[in-house]
């Protein structure tokens, strides 16, 4: 009856030294996991109560993160059932809106004084590692 149950679970990294609020870290982390394909379409996410219990935080903190992901069209929240990852094509953002987010991120890198080559290298690295788990 007693043995080691090894299950390859999807892990979310939480850093207490991060300047972002906790709900933002969780939302960003799940966003990255969906983008990299580690969380696939239809996959269930843990209930808000479970995540809040694991981290020892208020239920609202996690609920805010989940709502943000729902607003982005990344997860589906239904009352009484588990939150699931939405279809990747179901995103409701248009290209101009997405380009705006990219512009904001790039602006931060430029303002931080990074040379163009380093920015391109960084974008390529991030994109490469993110697309590893994505099926063509």
């Amino acid at each position: 009856m007693y043995g080691v149950y090894i299950h390859y679970t999807v892990l979310l990294n939480i850093n207490m030294d991060d300047r972002r609020p906790l709900y933002q870290q969780i939302a960003d982390g799940i966003r990255t996991l969906i983008a990299s394909g580690q969380l696939s379409e239809g996959q269930a996410l843990p209930p808000v109560r479970q995540v809040a219990g694991d981290l020892g935080v208020n239920l609202n903190t996690i609920a805010v993160a989940y709502r943000e992901l729902q607003d982005d069209g990344l997860i589906i929240l239904k009352h009484g059932s588990r939150a699931t990852v939405a279809s990747r094509t179901a995103g409701k953002h248009n290209e101009e809106e997405l380009r705006g987010s990219l512009r904001t991120a790039l602006t931060q890198l430029v303002l931080a004084g990074m040379p163009l080559g380093r920015i391109l290298e960084m974008v390529n690295d991030e994109l490469g590692s993110m697309m590893k788990g994505v099926k063509a």
Binding site: Y5, V10, L11, I14, D17, L45, P46, G53, G56
Partner: protein
């Protein structure tokens, strides 16, 4: 066998059962080798230096319950009250456990002063598993089905006795006993739910291994909960069957009941031993990780901090009552309800 012989047997059994626990507690501080003292990262040479006195003090404290128990036992036997030995065994068992927690707490507090500074700092990064887990994932439909049928049969038996037996006093007592058993089942389910929802954040190093052992421990603990529930279910039925067929059973029925109770105690001890072994195995294989903990406890008499699943918390100035934690309040209400039911049962038996 006479009653006194039964009591002597129970006492001997309790001594035999407690010996491995004493041995386990004796070696508990050094479970992970010389680099750790309980969950405190010990510096090099700690056990040759200040650790020696701390370890000796901890081990001596383990014998306090025995020092109290032996004179009381002698007094009970000499004064001709051997029946109270069973109560002595029960209270000593509880006291031994509390004494262990206190001794461990005190030893860790003393050892913490010598802890290496970097080991004392909580980790800033932790990993969180996104694997959903609910009580349903740890539920066996067969077990639930057997329990439902057992209790339905028990209530049907009580109903039959109510309609046919002239001894209404016994019927009411059996009804109370069955309700108490249902209450205990609910308590075990509550415990199972608490086990499933226990925090499972993991350190950033050895995450997979840590989570795998936590999962195995969770599965084992929920299995034990279910086994205990299954073990308790026939007890109700047997009591009712004995009451219905009492006239057909001879004097041997009392011995059979006592033997059955003794068997249940043996099986419970075996469960407890397996549970302890599982916990020790996990403790051996996973290093203690200091994860970012809960915020500090306020120093008022009453606090409203739902993050703490404890009704009574230790704060800087004494003990604090946490009225905001729903699980803690539920547990408090459950214990109060259990006490109420026991009082009712005693009243029925009188």
């Amino acid at each position: 066998m006479t009653v006194n012989q039964y009591i002597a047997l129970i006492y001997l059994f309790s001594v035999v059962v407690r010996y491995p626990r004493l041995k386990e507690r004796w070696t508990a501080p050094l479970l992970r080798g010389n680099e750790w003292f309980f969950s405190i990262a010990a510096p090099a040479g700690f056990l040759e230096g200040p650790g020696r006195g701390i370890l000796r003090g901890y081990r001596m404290r383990l014998f306090i319950p025995w020092l109290i128990e032996l004179p009381v036992l002698a007094a009970l036997v000499i004064s001709g009250h051997p029946f109270y030995v069973t109560w002595l065994v029960l209270s000593t068992t509880l006291f031994t456990r509390l004494n262990f927690y206190a001794a461990r707490h005190a030893a860790e507090d003393r050892a913490r002063r010598f802890e290496t500074p970097e080991a004392g700092e909580p980790a800033t990064t932790m990993m969180l598993s996104l694997q959903p887990r609910t009580t349903g994932d740890y539920t066996n439909r067969w077990v639930e089905g057997i329990l439902a049928v057992s209790f339905a049969a028990a209530f049907a038996g009580v109903g039959y006795l109510y309609a046919t037996s002239p001894d209404q006093h016994l019927t009411m007592w059996l009804l109370g006993w069955t309700i108490l058993q249902v209450y205990l089942q609910a308590g075990l389910l509550f415990l199972k739910r608490a086990i499933v929802s226990a925090p499972t954040a993991a350190p950033a190093t050895n995450t997979e291994q840590y989570l795998a052992w936590r999962e195995s421990l969770r599965r084992f603990s929920t299995w034990l909960c279910d086994s205990m529930r299954l073990l308790m279910a026939p007890g109700v039925l047997i009591g009712i069957v004995f009451a219905i067929y009492k006239p057909m059973l001879g004097n041997g029925s009392v011995n059979a009941i006592l033997l059955g109770l003794f068997g249940a105690v043996v099986v419970t001890c075996w469960f407890e031993w397996r549970r302890r072994s599982a916990h020790l195995e996990v403790a051996r294989r996973t290093k203690p990780a200091k994860l970012p903990g809960l915020p500090g406890v306020p120093a008022q008499l009453i606090c409203f901090q739902p993050d703490y699943p404890m009704l009574l918390l230790r704060s800087a100035t004494g003990y604090t009552l946490n009225l905001a934690s729903a699980p803690a309040k539920l547990a408090g209400l459950y214990i109060a309800g259990f006490a109420g039911l026991c009082v009712w049962l005693v009243h029925l038996a009188a």
